[in-house]
Subunit: 394 residues, 2 copies
DNA sequence: TCTTTTGGCGAGAACGTTCTCACATATCAG
DNA sequence: CTGATATGTGAGAACGTTCTCGCCAAAAGA
């Protein structure tokens, strides 16, 4: 019967109204049903009086369709409140239009901004974002990656925790999964990467302090112990000017390297006792590392913190020690957090383009998802020294 | 041939080794292939010499399987590097084990924390998180909700932008989609919700200031104009003590209500000129709203800011005005941001349990996802006044 | 007039799972 | 020995799309 009507409709514009009415009846009935169980392409096709193939064509926007049938299908779809099932679509196309992100901790302003950047380009391109936190725990990273892979994300953005062992990431790459690394590199893993030029940035910060006359400069850094050599050896090598493969170093080690390099260039001696090592990625650890050095007899006249978390811990420590910049000491931080600009004398800091980093990473990833296959690229973003009031001339 | 082996194996334990070897050969061959195109249940079944049904049973963990076949399948799966396709699974089960979140802006510490809370319980329960930002723009919220619905999330957590018009949310609920609201309510939409008890919290803050002797207290609030009545009318009603339906009010209006209520209870007059309205959800707007009042002849002795963004803008304004708490004025903020605790005299603030709010919301949502159908609940979280050093006695 | 092309359509096979059957076999009570 | 129950198993139908075919017109080229 539906077919008959359809053929009549095909020849004459006249019975179209009947069809419309007919549709409406069906729709209203179906709508009651579908208010719970949602309408499928088959339902739309039935109501519109066409095959599922045709309905699929107009709804999916592929292949040819006449204006006539197109209108019918569209109307039916609208009446039924049809909503395409992305699952079914993805299953057959093999594309989910979803990107996976495994970050350290969304609460950390660094990750929050980076993710925001990723999000910006993702949804400008109609991609969804599946986000997980690793809390810097390798097992959690592995688990997250596995989860995202099972959910068939089109690509993955990761801030890898272990720069040496990362079997899961190598596997991923071997499986052909587009992958972009942020902030950290993994030795031997040739994939796109975006990071700050940490060595240069730290060097710039220290050079600034040296330029202002400081000779005793402390550095508070996480320096988690996952390196091939001990801190002492590392420092010794760096002071000696031995070439160090800095690419796969953890950011805090890279920044320490910049710190040492600035000293070396200026002909200053590096005092290992001024290296305040938190040992873990937490403000508490930083807060604990600062007092011993800052209450010692020959305390530094300036402090350099290597990231937002260290800055926070350091600020806490300084507050309880009743030391304030720039009167009692000079301070340069890494990463520009919102409060640094409205503290009474603003805090001089190295600002990394977090948002842009996320955006760049997402853009690179999307290129890969779309099939680009040039060799893996590393984008080193420049960081900028923002002078505010926390540094005094000595 | 495979069948023969299988049957032989079925009767005697002896040929099992042959099978293993046989498997290995196949595996190695397939592994080369599958390093690119991934293995499916059918592949695993073929290698293990069982039906896809059986393979599915052991891999999916449903139905009965003998230990023997189970081991074979597991081995085959391991050798092939089998990874279940969550898409296909979800398509048939109708469950994605994925939750959708549409927040204002991940970069905002409030949302970042709330999302972290959601994330905590989500991945403790094996759920993924699809996260989007609305930037407080209704069209973007609608778009995000649609995207997430198409991706078939099992449930949705939303901070609704428009508390009056929210057709998309009503639709969602009618379709049976589990839904939890955070921070804001939608008039007439009966779904679970978690929020801070804003009126009480603000009242507590103001009462504290009044207790310290302040009589001229300014409030800086966003107070976006999407209300049924004008600010003046609202204030007039509140002062008169008229009953106001505060549930569906925007948080900043609720906090203003608490501000007024505290005045009323203490018998103090509310001066409309001390209400600094930003008019939009940005630190810049707040920064602009503060100076006119703070440079006026009869300026307030205390300030209350209604959220983190307002606090930031206010701090900026105060910094440029060279006014500092508690010397030049007293200050109570809303929402405890990290810098408030390490500013020189810490900032007294109302702390809302952001993480717990996210966790509570996610837990409620999961209950709904699992089929709980008690009437909709509203969880009002208590906020806590944290006294630090930004308030002085007058 | 006879091909070829082109737009337009529907049947039906994918995609990779789960799940319902029907059917075996083993165990046990009666 | 009969039937009931529990445990295994495989064939094949879902799920809701996309996509490859064929088929059929009508238009166009020869």
């Amino acid at each position: 019967m539906l077919l008959d009507l359809d053929e009549g409709h095909f020849r004459l514009p006249f019975p179209a109204n009947q069809i419309s009415l007919f549709c409406l009846v069906i729709c209203e009935k179906d709508e009651l049903l579908s208010s719970k169980s949602k309408a499928t392409i088959a339902d739309v096709a039935r109501v519109a009086g066409v095959s599922t193939a045709t309905a699929g064509r107009v709804l999916g926007g592929y292949g040819y369709t006449s204006e006539e049938k197109k209108a019918q299908v569209l109307k039916a779809a609208h009446d039924l409140g049809y909503r395409p099932n992305a699952l079914a679509r993805s299953l057959i196309t093999g594309k989910t239009r979803t990107l996976g992100v495994v970050a350290g901790d969304i609460q950390n302003p660094f990750y929050a901004s980076v993710i925001r950047g990723i999000s910006n380009v993702a949804d400008a391109n109609g991609f969804g974002l599946l986000i997980t936190n690793s809390d810097e725990i390798p097992a959690r990273e592995i688990h997250a990656v596995e989860l995202l892979a099972q959910k068939q994300v089109d690509g993955l953005i990761v801030t890898p925790i272990d720069t040496r062992k990362a079997r899961h990431l190598f596997n991923l790459k071997a499986m052909g999964m587009p992958l972009v690394l942020i902030d950290r590199a993994v030795g031997g893993l040739m994939v796109d990467r975006v990071a700050t030029d940490n060595v240069a940035a730290a060097e710039q910060a220290i050079r600034h302090l040296i330029g202002e006359g400081h000779r005793l400069i402390g550095i508070v850094a996480e320096l988690v112990d996952e390196n091939f050599m001990s801190l002492d050896d590392f420092v010794a090598h760096a002071i000696a000017g031995d070439p160090i493969e800095s690419e796969t170093l953890y950011p805090s080690w890279q920044r320490l390297l910049g710190y040492i390099r600035a000293h070396r260039i200026a002909g200053l001696t590096v005092h290992p006792r001024l290296i305040m090592r938190a040992g873990s990625y937490s403000a508490q650890a930083a807060e604990a590392a600062v007092p011993p050095v800052m209450t010692s007899p020959n305390r530094p006249t300036a402090l350099f913190t290597t990231d937002g978390t260290m800055s926070e811990g350091t600020m806490r420590a300084l507050t309880t020690l009743k030391l304030s910049a720039p009167e009692d000491l000079s301070l340069v931080c890494f990463d520009d957090l919102d409060w640094m600009s409205f503290l009474r004398p603003g805090i001089t800091t190295i600002s990394q383009p977090r948002l842009a980093m996320g955006e760049a990473a997402a853009r690179m990833l999307l290129e890969r998802v779309r099939g680009a296959d040039y060799p893996s690229r590393t984008v080193l973003m420049p960081a900028e020294l923002i002078e505010r009031g926390s540094v005094s001339r000595i």
